[in-house]
């Protein structure tokens, strides 16, 4: 995809926007301790997701990408910041109202085992959102379930079976059918294909893309498989230890990463090509604990280019171009 001209870029409609979103989880300590400690899972992240696009979040485990996804859906209360969806500020909206809005925002989960109630039939699982929101009943509901199953490539005659009777890929399809039952605008796909076998993964990814086109969906795609992300995304955000360190158009970002962390991630991604001569940037050490993040740039402890400035000064996420922002004192491009 080419870089869009500036005006076009600005004209695109924002579906979901988070501003300075923070999510701290308190760490349980003894009754007597005074200073409460926090896990700073998401620390001051701002991002926009445009209508119809696929925005991906990548990063190591512990980077806060799943938490951010859930905060954006208001499945977690946020510590500070604000979120708006489709022009409505949902930062401190009442639970009952939020339930109404959330019809437009659905989730597909990583583990197709634990996201389906093992004691419910497939028809009940897919029919649940219809039932809760009183959308369809009786024959109408049945027809809608059949329709949804066909849409995601499941055999509707198996609607009275239980989840354990299906394979992993099929279960993921059930989860997708459930997610699209309410005709949402926005879907959070939280590592939705990570647990699947390669041959099945491709099927599900294709399905997701098809559905996006058919139903005009917007995806927030959380994943750690960089190849898949490249394939499916329009834009990518890279997270490190609760911070968004780089955002950009997928091609550009993969080709010329601006943040050293992005660069390391991409270079270390195993290439299915034995003749690849890609030079690897091997990072030192591992991701630090989010309860006690390093000062300054959080990446400085592992960054091959870190200076004293990085240790002391926290870099802001600044725009490099229309489509690219990075939080680094010494960006690579």
């Amino acid at each position: 995809m080419e870089n869009l001209p500036i005006n076009q870029m600005n004209n695109r409609e924002v579906l979901l926007e988070g501003r300075n979103v923070k999510k701290y989880f308190p760490i349980k300590e003894g009754l007597l301790s005074r200073n409460q400690k926090f896990v700073k899972a998401v620390d001051d992240v701002s991002l926009k997701i445009y209508k119809g696009e696929t925005f991906s979040l990548v990063g190591e485990s512990g980077s806060g990408k799943s938490t951010l996804g859930r905060v954006l859906l208001r499945l977690y209360d946020l510590t500070s910041g604000s979120i708006s969806f489709d022009g409505v500020d949902i930062t401190s909206i009442k639970p009952k109202k939020m339930r109404n809005i959330r019809k437009e925002m659905q989730v597909i989960y990583q583990d197709p085992f634990s996201s389906l109630n093992p004691r419910m039939k497939i028809s009940d699982i897919i029919g649940e959102p219809l039932e809760i929101n009183k959308i369809a009943e009786g024959v109408e509901k049945h027809n809608r379930i059949v329709e949804l199953m066909e849409l995601v490539g499941l055999d509707p005659t198996r609607m009275n079976h239980y989840p354990h009777e299906f394979s992993g890929g099929q279960r993921q399809r059930i989860g997708i059918a459930r997610a699209i039952a309410l005709n949402p605008k926005f879907i959070l796909a939280d590592e939705a294909v990570s647990a699947l076998d390669v041959s099945v993964q491709a099927q599900v990814v294709n399905l997701l893309k098809d559905l996006q086109q058919k139903l005009g969906l917007t995806y927030l795609f959380i994943a750690h498989g960089l190849n898949i992300v490249r394939h499916i995304s329009d834009r990518v955000g890279v997270m490190y230890l609760g911070n968004l360190v780089e955002v950009g158009e997928v091609e550009e970002l993969y080709k010329r990463p601006a943040h050293p962390y992005t660069s390391a991630l991409i270079s270390t991604n195993p290439t299915p090509n034995p003749r690849s001569t890609k030079e690897k940037v091997i990072l030192k050490g591992e991701i630090p604990s989010p309860s006690n993040p390093p000062s300054g740039c959080r990446f400085h402890t592992r960054c091959p280019f870190a200076t004293d400035r990085c240790k002391n000064e926290t870099p802001e996420l600044v725009a490099l171009s229309n489509s690219r922002s990075v939080a680094c004192h010494y960006p690579l491009v």
């Binding site: 485990s61 270390t268 290439t271 299915p272």
Partner: protein, 330 residues
């Protein structure tokens, strides 16, 4: 060169309430000294079972070697008693597992777990073992070894633990190291650290590695030769270049095609293999891959192809020539 490990017609059964399930069926491959062989396959393909049967650890997990030979330096491991096998494990053949978070005993220190391994095979005094353990930790790239020795697994990160696991595996200079999905549970940045480490070590201590993975990328990076498994059978084996340049089995081919490009133009749609991996208790007749295969013929439905030698490599497909030609056409 004489092979270090030779697996011959190996079949493994698992005991279930109703009889047996054959987890791997009549597989053969060999590992030469100093080479890295990758066994690739998706879940249920039997690759982990293969590794456990070489270690003869299956017996502890309801599994049973039904048939075949595992020749290690010409000794048939299948015929050994568990006590004889104990001498081999951790000494001549070592293994590291997928989950570094759970593969170390949480209640013992790193030091104890390392020393235990050394002492049980080398019969050296504890003090000597301690020193050797420290050296091993340094070898796998761990700093502050004296501190680490006294720490418990939960005090270490996943990557660290996998390094410790490798140190344990290397404790007695094994000739063969089996690494069963050693990086699957780790982040890419850590994965590359570990893979690099394994590669370095292989050259340093001159051992062979059998690496089990589902990630073709990992296999491409480390393997000398690749064994592809599907539903308990070996479908193809060959050198890494043969496999990646010219896959001759439709499954291998599909597998490679369904991986999105890392660079180059993005595809509109990913190639995908239709259908699902069959469960071992409900295997299709004939070639196990035939329901998902583009090239399947009536013959595939009826009879199972043997692993045949062709072009200096092995493939189990009735139609492999068509597959090759197809490739050429592309």
């Amino acid at each position: 060169m004489k092979e270090l490990l030779r697996v011959e017609n190996l079949s493994v059964d698992f005991q279930k309430e109703k009889g047996f399930i054959r987890a791997i069926d009549n597989i053969s491959f060999e590992v030469y000294p100093g080479e890295t062989v990758c066994i690739v396959g998706e879940s249920g393909s039997g690759k982990s079972v293969t590794s456990l049967s070489i270690m003869r650890l299956l017996e502890y997990e309801n599994g049973k070697i039904a048939n075949g030979e595992i020749l290690f330096n010409d000794q048939n491991l299948v015929e050994m008693s568990q006590e004889q096998m104990r001498q081999v494990r951790g000494n001549d053949i070592s293994i590291i597992f997928q989950e570094p978070m759970t593969a170390l005993n949480p209640v013992f220190t790193i030091g104890k777990q390392l020393i235990e391994s050394i002492v049980s095979h080398k019969h050296v005094p504890k003090k000597v073992a301690w020193e050797q353990a420290c050296e091993l930790l340094a070898l796998v790239g761990i700093n502050d070894v004296n501190v680490r020795m006294k720490q418990y697994p939960h005090e270490l990160s996943g990557g660290m633990r996998q390094r410790v696991m490798i140190a344990i595996a290397l404790a007695c200079n094994p000739k063969l190291l089996i690494a069963d999905e050693p990086t699957t549970a780790l982040d890419v940045t850590i994965e590359s650290q570990i893979l690099t480490l394994l590669n370095d070590l292989k050259n340093k201590v001159h051992m062979s590695i059998v690496l089990i993975t589902h990630d073709m990328g990992v296999a491409a990076e480390v393997a000398d030769r690749i064994v592809v498994m599907y539903a308990g059978k070996i479908v193809e084996q060959g050198t890494v270049y043969q496999i990646f340049d010219e896959p001759t089995h439709p499954y291998t081919k599909g597998l490679l095609q369904s991986i999105p490009n890392e660079s180059g133009p993005r595809e509109e749609r990913l190639y995908s293999i239709k259908g699902n991996i069959p469960s071992l208790s409900q295997l299709p007749a004939g070639c196990r891959f035939h329901p998902r295969c583009e090239y399947a013929t009536e013959q595939c439905k009826k009879s199972e192809p043997d692993l045949v030698v062709g072009n200096n490599r092995k493939v189990a497909c009735w139609n492999f020539e068509r597959v090759i030609n197809d490739k050429v056409e592309q």
